[in-house]
């Protein structure tokens, strides 16, 4: 790692000051687990890291919004806090369940919800889940704040739409008691690996009829991707053998999957069809 400086602003305004300009070698750092990997591999050579650890108003906490229609999750919340949160377990059990196979205990103790989003590695497990849950992310910039759907912050492989001096403040996840969600992490080598395929599905059901749903594919594509065509093939209809086949075809058609060491494109498309059908079927059968 090259030499650089670390600053620890106490206020958001101070942080904006440190982030000002357009030098890509100046970046915020939260837990730092992902940034450290990039720095060690010399793909990121920082000039300045702006630590968010000392912010007075810490981007922390997991709490229901005023009307109870959503849960606010501070961007500096660590995965371990998420894992242990009763609020999360109650409202989004899919998140709690995903934690067991997400990275490892040490990373979960340090990595944060906001940093995870800003990293934009398509293999990450949480972003597709947040997207399936319909979450929004609250972004603070020098010009003010804005809330955008999580899917809109991903621009490509390790690329986001975030401005250079934007800070992720919190995640807002709608509480939708009628919806059921699942996340499937498909690993093709060791059980403890990056997924070859991540598949998050959230669905509102009446009997076996999907009144509404969101399907998100990750890992196999350059960014977490909503499989709109597959959703359309299922929305409003029964989850049955033929709709599942149509959804699988639509998903495989839409997803831009490439070959890598975790599987050929063809194989990953096949896995997508199989696991999409299994995920939907199990949600419909719950």
């Amino acid at each position: 790692m090259s030499s650089f400086e670390i600053v620890e602003p106490r206020t958001v305004e101070e942080a904006f000051g440190f982030l000002a300009g357009d030098d890509p070698a100046i970046r915020p750092i939260a837990g730092g687990t992902a940034l450290m990997l990039m720095m060690k591999a010399q793909v990121f050579r920082p000039v300045r890291l702006v630590s968010l650890r000392a912010l007075d108003n810490g981007f922390t906490g997991i709490a229901p919004g005023h009307d109870g229609a959503m849960i606010r999750i501070g961007a500096m919340t660590t995965f371990s806090e998420l894992e242990r949160s009763a609020e999360i377990r109650r409202s989004f059990p899919v998140v709690t369940q995903a934690m067991k196979r997400l990275a490892n205990v040490r990373v979960r103790n340090v990595a944060t919800v906001g940093g995870n989003l800003a990293h934009a590695d398509p293999h990450l497990d949480l972003p597709p889940i947040w997207i399936a849950l319909g979450a929004q992310v609250l972004i603070l910039g020098p010009g003010g704040e804005r809330a955008v759907p999580v899917e809109e912050i991903f621009a490509g492989y390790y690329e986001t739409t975030l401005g250079h001096d934007d800070l992720i403040a919190e995640l807002r996840v709608p509480v939708r008691p009628a919806w059921r969600s699942t996340y499937v992490k498909v690993t093709t080598r060791s059980a403890h690996d990056w997924p070859a395929l991540g598949l998050a599905v959230s669905m509102a059901l009446k009997g076996r009829q999907a009144t509404d749903l969101r399907i998100v594919l990750s890992a196999a594509t350059d960014r977490p991707t909503r499989l709109i065509a597959a959703e359309a093939a299922l929305r409003g209809g029964e989850i049955d053998r033929s709709s599942l086949r149509r959804a699988g075809d639509a998903a495989a058609e839409q997803a831009n999957i490439e070959s890598d060491d975790r599987g050929s494109a063809d194989y990953k498309k096949h896995l997508l069809r199989v696991y999409l059908a299994r995920a939907l079927d199990s949600l419909a059968g719950e």
């Binding site: 093709t188 060791s190 599942l244 059908a277």
Partner: protein, 761 residues
């Protein structure tokens, strides 16, 4: 006076002598070593698999603040005029010399007091190459016009390589052959002939303590602190490179953070030596995990195997042709080619055998020794082949093996008569543990179950020497000087048990002095399951020598034979005070007969046989090819288990490592570039991966020529595991994989090709 107990030391499962240091984090590894004034070296590596170096620009690196120097082969030549090394061929330059032969080869080194500065400076070096066509596949390379080395340069230490000296225009670095009986005639008259080709992938040891060495040249003496499995070889080879007598080179080895065959011969030692000579300061190089993959690997191999089988299901002839992908430098590959070559026809009693085994250079990272020394690759072929024959003939797999098994007293393909190899017992025990005679629940719907087994054996590198010294101090306490390196296998503990058994001292009370070639005597190396047998025998002899000297001392003092006057009292009577030593020495080299170069025949080709079998039960998802090994049974013949608990650990450790090599580990290349050189991409087994039902057992056996009936155990369970898994998958879903690794996609493709993969729901 050390505690004297009536209990025997052999067969005790005592915890490792160094246990406390390991659980408190205090154990010494070279990894931690820092010397005053020490410089760190970081390596600049080739980015192309094959090419001539046109220019290396180190000016920017040299100019970086904090950089001590930047070194290329031209600098190395000023201190080592002939900078080529290797155990079989002197083919490997200390840094790339005019040419690069694999992507990742060391080209230059930056030295700096601060490792980070050296790392940054490496990023400032540039090199220009004239790219040459590269060859990556072993079969292609055997006849390719693309030649990795212009001329073959065998080292003098291998008499069987001398005919290759000066050979040009070839990548074949050893052409081993064995011929027994008349295979052609047997094939011509056979009831059935079967021929298949199998392949294995490139894998790596990935010891968690990556390769590391420190050289310190001072006052005309060199001290090397290195994580090496064979300090004696390092001393000899470095002395040769420097033109120094052996006594000016000192090699010290503390504990190793894993070795598995990787840390053998010369790895970083020649490089750090040259750097320390140039810098006149201590120099350390520690590789990162990512860099380890460019150091040494296991040979990928292609194995064409053909068998003649009689109407009664007896194998009458076998023809084996094996190509070993040695990568850019031979390392110990020619020995792998030969040693795994002579057992390549499998542990069967076959009258007519022909084996041709080729060590082949390619433009890949070098391959060398890795736990099993080629036996796992050959067993993958011969044991899958065995099941395929049994299936084709409609004979039960265990029955077919029993019908053809090699028994003690019968000659193996090399002509050496099998002794103390419990193949039959292992097979029977394995079949019993697998409940082979009972039907298996084969599953239904998309989940199908199956089971498979395999057995295998290996010969041991020969002839090799071990020397041991037992030192009894004036108070009667004991130290043992051995060059065997404890890299986790527990050799310190077992050697102490052997000495303690002879001297009637608790093993825990014996101090084992670690490798320091100024102090510890010669040992060929900690490799190939040889230590318990070879060094164990040397230790037994040294302890017996010491015991004889104690008796002589007692006689000299006028005591009757068998006196129970304790040793400290003997010393006091002799010297009038607490003084003196008794030094017992032992040296061991087993009998050996060099094989005939044309036929590979020898009356005594190996000091003992490693024998093991593995059984696996699997569950396959026919929709995706995903599978789980639900049960894994390993059975081995280790002779007498000198420390049963340590033997268990060796058996399960070897099996899990091979399980990784079977199912998840794979060095993959794109355009000659390795794409999986990190533990994020090269997946070794975790606790989640190992089969839930996993047993390792030994059979009742004794190696008559071994110390207290013992022999090596560290490699046994690597041999038969892969084919057991392959056979189980074939049993479950009826498709046969011929290439390792067996992974979900490979199974899925085979299922699809066979029309078995299920249509979409």
């Amino acid at each position: 006076m050390a505690a004297v107990t009536p209990s025997r030391q052999i067969g005790r499962s005592i915890p490792r002598l160094e246990a406390r240091g390991k659980v408190t984090g205090r154990t010494e590894y070279v990894h931690h070593l820092r010397l005053p004034g020490m410089l760190h070296g970081k390596i600049f590596r080739s980015t192309i698999p094959h090419g001539r170096i046109k220019r290396i620009d180190v000016s920017a690196a040299r100019a970086l603040e904090g950089v001590h120097s930047v070194v290329t082969i031209e600098d190395i030549r000023t201190v080592i005029p002939h900078p080529y090394y290797g155990p079989a061929f002197h083919d490997q330059p200390i840094l790339a010399d005019g040419k690069v032969r694999f992507a990742g080869e060391p080209v230059a080194v930056v030295l700096a007091a601060d490792r980070r500065v050296a790392e940054e400076a490496v990023g400032l070096i540039t090199a220009e190459y004239e790219e040459l066509p590269a060859v990556h596949d072993e079969v292609e390379a055997a006849t390719s016009p693309v030649v990795v080395h212009d001329e073959l340069k065998p080292a003098a230490t291998f008499p069987d390589l001398q005919h290759l000296k000066g050979r040009r225009g070839t990548n074949v670095a050893l052409d081993y052959q064995l011929l027994r009986g008349d295979p052609d005639a047997a094939f011509a008259s056979a009831a059935h002939v079967f021929e298949h080709t199998f392949r294995t992938q490139q894998v790596m040891h990935t010891p968690l303590e990556p390769f590391v060495a420190v050289a310190d040249v001072d006052g005309g003496r060199l001290t090397l602190h290195t994580a090496s499995q064979n300090p004696s070889f390092v001393r000899i080879e470095i002395s040769r490179l420097l033109g120094w007598p052996e006594n000016r080179v000192r090699v010290k080895v503390p504990f190793l953070g894993g070795g598995f065959g990787g840390k053998l011969y010369i790895k970083l030692e020649a490089l750090v030596t040259a750097l320390s000579l140039l810098a006149r300061r201590p120099v350390k190089i520690s590789l990162t995990m990512d860099e380890q993959f460019f150091m040494v690997t296991r040979h990928p191999c292609t194995f064409r195997i053909k068998s003649a089988v009689s109407a009664e299901g007896r194998i009458t002839a076998r023809e084996c042709e094996i190509w070993w992908n040695g990568g850019a430098y031979a390392d110990i590959g020619p020995r792998v080619t030969q040693k795994a070559g002579f057992t390549a026809a499998g542990p069967y009693d076959i009258e007519n055998v022909s084996i041709r085994s080729y060590a082949v250079y390619t433009n890949r990272p070098p391959a060398g020794a890795l736990r099993g020394f080629g036996a796992p690759q050959t067993a993958w072929a011969y044991e899958c082949h065995t099941d395929m024959i049994a299936a084709a003939l409609g004979i039960d797999q265990v029955e077919f093996r029993r019908r053809n098994l090699l028994h003690n007293g019968r000659p193996q393909a090399s002509g050496t008569v099998l002794r103390d190899a419990a193949l039959g017992l292992v097979l029977d025990h394995l079949a019993a543990r697998m409940n082979w005679s009972r039907p298996l629940d084969r599953g239904s719907g998309r989940i199908r179950r199956g089971r498979g087994l395999a057995i295998g054996f290996k010969g041991i590198t020969a002839p090799t020497t071990s020397v041991a010294v037992v030192n009894l101090y004036a108070d009667g306490s004991c130290a043992l000087y051995v060059g065997t390196v404890d890299m986790g296998q527990g050799s310190d503990t077992v050697m102490a048990q052997i000495a303690g058994e002879v001297l009637n001292i608790d093993a825990e009370a014996i101090r084992v002095i670690h490798s320091d070639t100024d102090v510890t005597p010669y040992d060929m190396g900690t490799l190939g399951s040889r230590s318990t047998f070879h060094m164990g025998t040397a230790v037994r002899l040294a302890a017996e020598d010491a015991k004889r000297k104690i008796a002589e001392l007692a006689r000299e003092l006028g005591l009757p034979p068998g006196t129970n006057v304790p040793l400290d009292e003997l010393f006091r009577r002799k010297y009038g005070m607490q003084a003196g030593n008794i030094i017992g020495t032992g040296s061991f080299i087993p009998a050996y007969e060099k094989p005939d170069p044309a036929t590979g025949q020898s009356a005594n080709v190996t000091p003992f046989w490693g024998v093991a079998g593995t059984g696996a039960e699997v569950e396959v998802d026919t929709e995706t090819g995903e599978f789980k090994v639900t049960r894994l049974v390993n059975v081995a013949d280790v002779g007498t288990a000198l420390n049963p608990k340590l033997v268990q650990a060796q058996l399960s450790g070897g099996a899990i490592m091979q399980f990784g090599f079977t199912t998840s580990e794979n060095m993959t290349f794109r355009d000659g570039q390795l794409t999986t050189n990190s533990l994020a991409d090269y997946k070794i087994p975790t606790l989640l991966d190992i089969p839930r039902d996993f047993i390792n057992e030994i059979v009742e056996s004794r190696q008559e020529s071994g110390p207290f009936g013992g022999k090596g155990a560290g490699e046994s369970t690597t041999i038969a595991l892969s084919p057991a898994v392959g056979n189980a998958v074939a049993d479950a879903v009826g498709v046969r994989l011929t290439d390792l690794p067996v992974d979900a996609e490979a199974v899925f493709r085979a299922l699809t090709a066979a029309g078995i993969a299920q249509a979409q729901s």
